[in-house]
């Protein structure tokens, strides 16, 4: 490996789980998440030499992912997803309860609006602090808190739909 690749890998590896969860939660589809992750890493690597302060690598990486996700969001409005035709692969795997819970969580996150989704995922899954999120998204701290709180409430509502009462 070249020096550039070694340096990039050393910085990237600790952030991979957070970034992977972030991409998965944003697009809620394994193939799309792989593409988003792959694109993010490629762009980050291409422009890696331009980073002067390596301590800002985390912001740099997630910033690219956010921009790519927004581009993808605007593109995806015109397309529908079509799944694999192979009947055998359609049989649901015997996923554990924990995995199915996580699947439901990702589905619920997918129903949040884009701002709430990004902030909830950054805070809850990728381990960013509120101040870091405010800096990354160039937002006021109180706005971030509001989005996070509303996003969590919305998630609770989606995961536990309230009962309708007839008076």
């Amino acid at each position: 490996l070249s020096n550039k690749q070694q340096e990039f890998t050393a910085l990237y590896l600790p952030l991979h789980p957070q970034l992977a969860r972030y991409c998965k939660a944003l697009v809620n589809d394994t193939d799309d998440a792989k593409d988003l992750l792959s694109d993010t890493v490629s762009i980050a690597y291409q422009q890696f030499e331009a980073i002067r302060d390596h301590s800002a690598f985390k912001y740099y990486l997630f910033g690219i992912a956010i921009r790519l996700f927004r581009k993808k969001l605007s593109r995806s409005k015109t397309f529908i997803s079509i799944h694999s035709p192979v009947a055998e692969t359609l049989v649901s795997s015997s996923a554990s309860d924990a995995q199915s819970d996580v699947g439901h969580l990702y589905q619920a996150i997918d129903r949040l609006n884009p701002h709430q989704k990004e902030i909830v995922v950054l805070f809850e899954l990728s381990g960013f602090s509120l101040n870091e999120i405010a800096e990354l998204k160039n937002m006021n701290l109180s706005t971030v808190k509001t989005h996070l709180s509303r996003g969590r409430q919305e998630l609770i509502r989606i995961l536990n739909p309230r009962k309708e009462t007839i008076h």
Binding site: Q5, F8, T9, Y12, L13, H16, P17, A20, R21, K24, A25, T30, D31, A33, K34, D35, L37, S38, D39, V41, S42, Y45, Q46, I80, S81, I82, H83, S84, P85, V86, A87, L90, V91, S92, A98, Q99, D101, V102, H104, L105, Y106, Q107, D110, R111, E124, L125, G127, R152, L155, I156, L159, N160, P161, K163, E164, I166
Partner: protein, 545 residues
């Protein structure tokens, strides 16, 4: 567990879940194949500069020659056909058409040449938009699945020469008058005949018979029970004679708003329901309501002159003639003989003739108040019903319910055999009471491309069922589904004698994309057990929570 704790617990699980892709895989594909952007190379910069210079020279030349007839860049010649293109949109369409004519291989090679391999997955996805349409053979035998899951019908043997009341397994009563049926040649059937009956009161039985509750305009109805009646004599399928009907008494007290609907299946086994505007009305008979000879005349006319419901509808809006005593002080009755020749006119004239004959042969030889007549069309049992109703109401409090049902007269009168439905437009959802209309939307489910499935959406709150069979587009669409309902989605298919099943509870208010993942069932019994469990009271109750 509190909601907040529950959510935190879920996030904790998500953080602990293994990565969906290992870092090595991402780094391998991303780092190895990244090349310098082609626009950054010296050669590329040189080409761009020369092209810009050439364009500038062209524009300046045209301006110097004062050639304004053809604006710069307005017309583009394509290489293959020389066809003129007027707008950038045309150019785009042409480019896409041109790409469509390429083979799949040429596109893959083009992508490989133009882009780095780290973007292969993205490019494959994008280039798939330009690939020629490939016909994927459909898998899944829906018609066979429908036949396999159908419940057997109840078989009865009746004597067509006698009045019969049948009580089916779930308690529905079918009232069949003597000589009700005719064979395909139009001859009245007498003697023994076989009657096939099905009763469907719950969602499981609806599912087995592939029933939905959409009317012929596609709007969903609320059902109060569905029935199937088929009469056979030997190999002949029998139909109901004009002026006759099969009376139906459901096994529960049906809400007043329910009407009778007749079902028609299309080639896709979809059933559409058409309303019978007189479903609660018996076939009418001529009847006189007063006078000393009324009973004799009623008997004579109810036996010899039977009207069908359509004729009764025609009579309702016509002009009736009033008859008075000779001193013009008292109304004798009303007739409606001013009609085109036919059964009604004949009956009317016969009625007038008989009433006068009877009056003339009276002891007093005068038309007295005792011979007054009214010529009307009524349901055969309506008079009896009105006479009996106070009595029935009074005895209902102290006789067993089963006995009370035995003396009830039928509530619905079918003039066609086949599938019958007690339906009504659904009542307004409580959420939309103020708007006076329930908003509707189409619900689309993405299913595996090339797979033929049978999709059913059950709305337990309003007792409605929507069905959809997909085409090869990979989508399943349910039309005009009311918003604000809890629903159960069942998607089933049959491939290589194996049942593929999927169940999901959903909310029609806030639809989220559904990714169908099937479970596989080997045996028919196990499949029917799954279907029953999916639509049992517990399953439906959990959907309405």
């Amino acid at each position: 567990m509190k909601n907040e704790d529950f959510l935190d617990d879920l996030f904790k699980k998500a953080r602990k879940a293994p990565d969906f892709v290992p870092p090595g895989e991402i780094l391998e594909t991303s780092l190895k194949n990244v090349r310098q952007h082609p626009l950054k190379t010296v050669a590329a910069k040189l080409i761009i500069g020369l092209t810009a210079l050439a364009a500038l020279l062209l524009i300046s030349t045209r301006l110097l020659n004062n050639d304004h007839s053809k604006p710069v860049g307005d017309t583009v010649q394509t290489h293959d056909s020389g066809k003129s293109l007027q707008t950038p949109e045309d150019l785009m369409v042409s480019t896409m058409e041109k790409k469509n004519t390429h083979s799949v291989d040429s596109f893959q090679s083009e992508n490989t040449f133009n882009s780095s391999t780290w973007r292969t997955s993205v490019n494959e996805q994008r280039s798939s938009m330009y690939r020629p349409q490939v016909t994927i053979p459909l898998t899944g035998d829906i018609k066979k699945l429908m036949l396999m899951q159908q419940a057997p019908s109840q078989e009865f043997t009746i004597n067509c020469s006698r009045d019969t009341i049948l009580t089916a397994a779930s308690g529905t009563k079918f009232h069949i008058e003597s000589q009700t049926f005719k064979n395909p040649s139009g001859k009245t059937v007498t003697g023994p005949a076989s009657l096939q009956v099905k009763e469907c009161y719950d969602h499981f039985s609806f599912a087995r018979e592939n029933l939905s509750t959409a009317d012929d305009s596609g709007s969903l109805l609320e059902t109060g029970g569905m029935y199937y009646i088929n009469a056979l004599q030997g190999a002949d399928t029998l139909s109901i004679r004009p002026g006759y009907e099969v009376g139906i008494t459901p096994n529960y007290e049906v809400p007043e708003r329910m009407d009778l609907y007749y079902g028609q299946r299309d080639s896709n086994e979809h059933i559409a329901w058409e309303k019978d505007p007189l479903g609660k009305t018996e076939c009418p008979v001529f009847i006189s309501t007063g006078g000393k000879y009324s009973r004799i005349m009623n008997h004579y006319f109810s036996k010899n002159y039977k009207l069908d419901k359509a004729t009764m509808l025609g009579l309702r809006d016509t002009q009736w003639t009033s008859h008075f005593t000779s001193d013009m002080r008292k109304v004798l009755g009303h007739t409606n003989c001013d009609l085109k020749p036919g059964l009604v006119k004949n009956a009317c004239e016969k009625f007038t003739q008989l009433s006068h004959e009877m009056a003339l042969s009276d002891t007093f030889n005068v038309i007295s108040r005792f011979t007054e007549f009214t010529f009307q069309c009524m349901g055969r049992n309506r008079a009896a019903f009105y006479a009996l109703k106070p009595l029935l109401d009074s005895v209902r409090t102290y006789i067993p319910e089963s006995d009370y049902r035995n003396v009830q007269i039928p509530l619905f009168f079918a003039i066609n055999t086949g599938w019958l439905n007690l339906d009504c437009p659904p009542t307004l959802n409580i959420r939309y009471k103020k708007r006076h209309i329930t908003p509707k939307q189409d619900v689309t489910i993405h299913i595996p491309e090339g797979m033929r499935v049978n999709g059913t959406l059950y709305l337990p709150e309003q007792n409605s069922v929507a069905r959809s069979v997909n085409n090869e587009s990979g989508r399943l669409t349910f039309r005009s589904i009311p918003k604000g309902q809890k629903a159960i989605l069942l998607v089933t298919s049959l491939i290589d004698e194996q049942f593929y099943v999927f169940r999901k509870e959903m909310d029609t208010e806030d639809m989220m994309p559904v990714q169908v993942k099937f479970d596989k069932i080997q045996e028919l019994e196990a499949y029917l057990a799954w279907l029953r469990n999916a639509l049992t009271a517990e399953g439906m109750a959990s959907a309405t929570k």
